[in-house]
């Protein structure tokens, strides 16, 4: 019946708009990848000669590679810390009723919604007031602050969806609280933890408005570096190559995550 129903012009228009949006979503990504293989000295179209020269340029740009290293270190440590702080916090919020719980929950998720540029400025003022110099520790802790809400949000979501009877079943079968958590709860909320970690990692790797205030010439993350270069010198093709590498890495991680936990957890 449904298959036989005639498609009305309205539905057709709707469908076309949906496809147009898909094209719009993919456009900059596809174009960047194309541009990265163009041999021209300045960025231009059409792509008439294929070349890997911009990838070689990336490889030879030590400052750029250094900023990749900084970014990966910061994102990795911040993600681990965000998980270490966020998972117990999500447990407390999901499992206990206490006065002010909703307020605390909203407070802990607030970094998702406050303008990060304001937060960045505020922390800059704190550094100035306390006479602190830019340090990797402070940098990482700030990244924990902006990534931990993602962990709390995703873990909280899986925890509240978890049937409480599962843990009770384990307890009644003789598992004490620690073994219940280890053998039942943790495996079951693993998708939420992985998704939260992924969100945290990507958010840290992506951040500009906070990192730009707290870095130093020796401690510049990749997005801040790209930002600074593009702002000063315009669209240098070398960044098309860097971007393509980043896109490839992102896609690879996403495909892996789809296999492990399913994309639904990443929404």
């Amino acid at each position: 019946m449904t298959a036989l129903r005639r498609v009305s012009p309205f539905q057709a228009g709707f469908w076309l708009l949906a496809m147009a949006t898909l094209v719009f979503l993919l456009a900059p990504i596809v174009i960047v990848v194309l541009a990265s293989f163009n041999d021209n000295q300045v960025l231009s179209f059409p792509v008439d000669r294929f070349s890997l020269r911009w990838y070689r340029a990336v490889w030879e740009d030590f400052e750029l590679l250094e900023s990749v290293r900084v970014s990966l270190i910061v994102a990795a440590i911040a993600t681990v810390l965000a998980l270490a702080l966020g998972i117990p916090a999500a447990f407390s919020l999901a499992r206990y009723k206490f006065p002010g719980r909703d307020m605390i929950s909203a407070f802990l998720l607030s970094p998702l919604l406050i303008p990060l540029i304001a937060l960045g400025l505020a922390v800059l003022l704190l550094y100035a007031a306390a006479g602190l110099r830019p340090s990797l520790t402070g940098f990482i802790l700030m990244h924990v602050l902006i990534t931990v809400p993602y962990v709390i949000r995703t873990v909280l979501a899986v925890l509240t969806q978890l049937d409480p009877a599962l843990e009770e079943a384990a307890l009644s079968l003789g598992a004490d609280d620690l073994r219940t958590k280890w053998l039942v709860t943790m495996p079951l909320i693993r998708p939420g933890i992985i998704a939260g970690g992924f969100f945290a990692f990507m958010t840290s790797l992506d951040n500009v408005p906070v990192s730009i205030f707290l870095g130093s010439s020796r401690m510049t993350t990749l997005p801040v570096r790209i930002y600074g270069q593009v702002e000063s010198y315009g669209i240098d093709p070398v960044f098309a190559a860097v971007s393509t590498l980043l896109i490839a890495a992102t896609l690879a991680i996403m495909i892996a995550l789809d296999r492990i936990i399913g994309l639904d957890h990443l929404k």
């Binding site: 979503l25 194309l34 231009s44 605390i104 304001a118 505020a122 802790l141 609280d177």
Partner: protein, 315 residues
């Protein structure tokens, strides 16, 4: 086998008896403690400490700075308590213009996100077999770094860019169009960054509309466009409102995209704050602008929660 079971049962029993007395094992103490009144605290304490030092304290300092004054002609702040910076911000047409621009751009972005995002969200919500593929197409741009996406749009929209090449090659225009470093460019870039939020919010609401309801409308004689405007759209309105408020609050805060794509000619609140914090140093004014932006963003969210919290508990 029976004997072993009995032994096992006796073994548990001996632990059980220990559980009641003073010599309770670790497991019993953990359990008793978990049932206790303060059991929620250790999980929250570290994260609250972090927030206290790196969120609350800086924000208080930001508040204090907005009441400072700068020494005329310098970046030096004078330890005082004055509303000077507030007066300067709210009495200057240039500053208020930036605030107004930020909000106008926010509205336009929301509007475009809604119009472009809705059909795709509807399409996604109805998918079964190819869902994973299309979800990937929507989510991949979402997770790609914002700087990369912004850079991608600059490649497309610049004078030597892809779109100008396409337009000229196809003979649609004879002269290269200026699409970058102006408001159009900024809006295109921001829509691209923010539309996934709209799509995902809408999709989760539309997916909950049961197809039987639509069949009921059709059985009562509604045409497809009537089904959409009279049933689907009203039923997904909470999602549309939530998505719009979310996109708006993000749009007024966004930094990277307008900073790169706006160039010198487009200045929004976040870029203004950055400039006053770093290049034309005026911390009191930057602090006031931060507060204005913060209050605007939070108001949007609070409206969102008040309107929608009873329906959907997701933040």
């Amino acid at each position: 086998m029976g004997d072993e079971a009995a032994t096992a049962s006796r073994a548990t029993r001996s632990i059980e008896q220990a559980g009641g007395g003073r010599g309770a094992s670790l497991a019993d103490r953990v359990h008793a403690w978990k049932e206790g009144r303060w059991a929620f605290l250790p999980g929250l304490a570290p994260v609250l400490l972090l927030y206290g030092v790196l969120l609350v304290l800086p924000m208080l300092l930001l508040g204090r700075y907005s009441f400072y004054r700068t020494r005329r002609g310098t970046a030096e702040v004078i330890d005082s308590f004055t509303v000077d910076a507030f007066v300067r911000f709210f009495s200057d047409a240039f500053y208020l213009g930036i605030l107004l621009d930020t909000m106008i751009v926010g509205f336009v972005v929301v509007l475009i996100c809604a119009v472009l995002g809705y059909p795709l969200a509807y399409f996604l919500a109805g998918l079964r077999r190819w869902k994973a593929v299309f979800l990937m197409i929507v989510l991949a741009p979402f997770f790609v770094s914002q700087v990369v996406k912004t850079y991608g749009w600059m490649v497309i929209l610049s004078n030597q860019g892809f779109l100008n090449w396409l337009l000229i090659e196809s003979g649609l225009v004879s002269e290269r169009l200026r699409m970058l470093y102006n408001r159009t460019g900024v809006i295109v870039g921001m829509v691209h960054i923010l539309i996934p939020f709209m799509i995902l919010t809408l999709e989760s609401v539309i997916r909950q509309i049961r197809p039987q309801v639509l069949d009921a409308a059709r059985s009562l004689g509604a045409r497809e466009w009537q089904v959409f405007f009279k049933v689907i759209l009203p039923m997904s309105l909470p999602g549309l409102v939530a998505g719009s408020l979310l996109v708006f609050s993000l749009a007024i805060s966004i930094f990277t995209t307008p900073a790169l794509m706006g160039g010198e000619r487009v200045q929004l609140m976040s870029n203004f704050i950055y400039k006053r914090a770093v290049s034309i140093i005026d911390w009191p004014l930057a602090a006031v602008a931060s507060w204005v932006l913060l209050v605007l963003a939070l108001l949007t969210v609070i409206v969102c929660l008040k309107v929608l919290m009873p329906k959907r508990m997701r933040a």
